[in-house]
Amino acid sequence: MTLSSQTKNLLKVHQQVNVNIEPNAGWRDLPIGGVIPQAGTATQFATGDWRTIRPVWSKEKCINCHRCWLYCPDMSWISENGQIQGVDLTYCKGCGICANVCPAKVHAIEMHPEDNFKDDEVVKEG
C-alpha cells in the first residue's frame, strides 16, 4: 500500500498516540473522535510539503536584523550566536512572510517556485 506524504504525516501523529497503530489501522484502533492524547505532535507533521514557493537566502546581503526569524510562523529560520544561519525547510510552507519583512533595501530573501528545485530532497523526513 502506497501512502501519500499526508497519510505518513498523520500516521506519525497517531503513532505517538499508540505504537500499535498500523498504517492501515481500522476505526477501532484509533483514538475516539480524533483526540491526540499527546503534546508536541505537530513536530511530526512536516508541513514543508505544502510549499509551492521557497525562500532563498543570501548570506552576503543579510544584515542579521532577525525579522525573518521573528515573523516566520513555522520557526524555520535558524539563528546561532546572533547570526542567521539559513532556513530549515522541513516546516516552511512558503508563505513568503520572511521575504516580505526582510528590509526592502536589503532584499536578502527571494521566493522561487518549487519547480526550480524539483531534483532536490525538498522535505526532510522527520
Binding site: 499526508q6 481500522g26 476505526w27 473522535g33 480524533g34 492524547p37 499527546q38 503534546a39
Partner: protein, 401 residues
C-alpha cells in the same frame, strides 16, 4: 422555588421549571446559554440558582447561541460537565457547533424546547427545530410532559457520559404546551440525583495539564471516515446504555422508561405513532375508543436518536393499519420525519401494516381529541378488508382547506 429538595416531593411545576430543577440537582460545572422563547425561563431560573449559591456552576452569559454551544463544547473538552439550553432559531444558530460537539464526542446535555422555525415568525410548538438536527449526531429524547422532561434530563447525563457513548444528548419538550403548562412533578431528593449522575470524568480533559492533548484536530481523506464510523458505532452502543440507565433510574424513581411507550398495543389492530405532548391527548382518545370496543393503540417514541427501528418493527408489523403523526414536515413530498423513520423500520418486516402520515400542529396549531379521533377512524378504515388502496399517503390534519 429556589430551595434544596431533601426528600422526594411532589411539586407543581411548569416544564421549564422542572428542567431547571433537574439542572440544579445535576449541578453541572458549566452552563453557557442565551435566552430564547420558550426556553428562556430554564436558563433564567438556573441563573438564580447560581446567584443564590445553590449550585457551584460557572454560568457564562454569552451573546448568541452559536457562542453558547461553542462555550459549552469548549468547557466539555476542558473536562467540565457542561450544559446549555435552547429552542428553535437558537438551535438553528447552533448548527455548526452541533456537529462539532458530536464529532468531538463531548457529552453535552441540552434541554431543547420545541418551537417552530421562521418564516413566518412563530413562537409556538412544532418539532421542525429538533427534527432538522436529527442527523447531527446528537442523541434525541422526546418528553411527553414535565415529569418526563425532568426524568429524561437526569438520565441524559448518564447516557451522554457513558464511555461507550460519549455523545451529546438533546432532551426535548413541547414549547408552551409543556414548557409553560403547570403539572405535578415528582422531584427526587437532591442527594439521589447527585448519586445517580455521580462524579464525572471525561477521558480526555484539556485541563489535565500533566497530559497535554489536542481535541478536534484535522483528519482528511485518510482518517475522517474512520472517525465517523466510530461515531456511528457509538450511536449503536447508546441503545444498550439507554436501557441500562433507564433500569437504574427506575430503581431510584419508580418510573420506568424504554425507547418508546406502547399504550393499549397488546391486542391493537390499528394504531398511531406520536412524539411529545400529543401522546397525552391521543391516550385520552384511545381510552374513549377502547370503551366503545375499538382495538386501537398508541406508540409514543421517546428515543428518536438512536432510532429503535427493529424494536418498533417487531411491535408494529402485526397491525392492520398505522398512522404516524408528525409535528414537522420534511418538505420532500415524502412525508414527515417520524413517518419516514417508522416506514423505513418496517420495510424489512415480513408482514407490515398500511402506513399513512399525518402532518399536524405546525406553528402550535392545536391538536384536539376530535382531530385525533378523526385520524384514528381513517386509519381503521384503511385497515379494513374493504379498503381500496391507501389513498393520500401524506395528509394534513387540522389545516384549513
Amino acid at each position: 422555588m429556589a430551595v434544596a429538595v431533601e426528600t422526594q416531593k411532589t411539586a407543581a411545576l411548569t416544564g421549564n421549571e422542572a428542567a431547571a430543577q433537574a439542572m440544579r440537582q445535576i449541578n453541572p460545572d458549566v452552563v453557557a446559554a442565551y435566552p430564547i422563547t420558550p426556553q428562556t425561563e430554564i436558563v433564567q431560573l438556573f441563573s438564580t440558582f447560581v446567584s443564590d449559591g445553590l449550585v457551584k456552576t460557572e454560568f457564562v452569559a454569552v451573546e448568541s447561541e452559536h457562542s453558547a454551544m461553542s462555550a459549552t463544547v469548549g468547557a466539555a473538552a476542558a473536562g467540565a460537565r457542561a450544559m446549555t439550553a435552547t429552542s428553535s432559531q437558537g438551535l438553528a444558530l447552533m448548527w455548526e457547533m452541533l456537529y462539532i460537539a458530536a464529532g468531538m464526542r463531548v457529552p453535552v446535555v441540552m434541554p431543547m424546547v420545541n418551537r417552530a422555525l421562521s418564516s413566518p415568525i412563530n413562537i409556538h410548538c412544532d418539532h421542525s427545530d429538533s427534527m432538522g438536527a436529527r442527523d447531527s449526531g446528537w442523541l434525541q429524547i422526546y418528553s411527553e410532559n414535565a415529569q418526563e422532561m425532568y426524568d429524561n434530563l437526569i438520565q441524559a447525563v448518564r447516557i451522554a457520559e457513558h464511555p461507550d457513548v460519549l455523545l451529546p444528548v438533546m432532551v426535548t419538550m413541547d414549547g408552551f404546551i409543556i414548557s409553560h403548562g403547570m403539572e405535578n412533578v415528582e422531584l427526587l431528593p437532591d442527594r439521589a440525583v447527585q448519586d445517580f449522575v455521580g462524579e464525572y470524568h471525561f477521558p480526555y480533559p484539556l485541563l489535565d495539564v500533566e497530559h497535554p492533548k489536542t481535541l478536534g484536530p484535522l483528519a482528511l481523506q485518510d482518517f475522517y471516515f474512520e472517525f465517523k464510523r466510530q461515531q456511528a458505532e457509538a450511536v449503536h452502543r447508546a441503545k444498550n446504555v439507554i436501557l441500562a440507565v433507564a433500569e437504574e433510574y427506575a430503581r431510584i424513581s419508580g418510573r420506568r422508561y424504554g425507547f418508546f411507550e406502547a399504550y393499549q398495543m397488546d391486542d391493537a389492530e390499528y394504531a398511531v405513532v406520536v412524539l411529545g405532548s400529543t401522546a397525552g391527548t391521543a391516550k385520552y382518545v384511545i381510552d374513549q375508543l377502547r370503551q366503545a370496543g375499538e382495538k386501537c393503540g398508541l406508540v409514543k417514541i421517546r428515543v428518536f436518536r438512536p432510532f429503535p427501528g427493529p424494536e418498533l418493527s417487531e411491535l408494529l408489523s402485526g397491525l392492520k393499519a398505522l398512522g404516524i403523526l408528525d409535528r414537522a414536515d420534511t418538505f420532500s413530498t415524502q412525508g414527515g420525519p417520524l413517518y419516514l423513520e417508522v416506514k423505513a423500520a418496517l420495510y424489512h418486516a415480513l408482514k407490515r401494516p398500511k402506513c399513512i402520515n399525518y402532518i399536524y400542529g405546525l406553528g402550535g396549531r392545536d391538536i384536539d381529541p376530535e382531530l385525533i379521533r378523526q385520524a384514528l377512524m381513517e386509519i381503521k378504515d384503511l385497515g379494513s378488508e374493504q379498503a381500496d388502496g391507501v389513498g393520500p399517503i401524506v395528509r394534513y390534519l387540522g389545516v384549513r382547506e
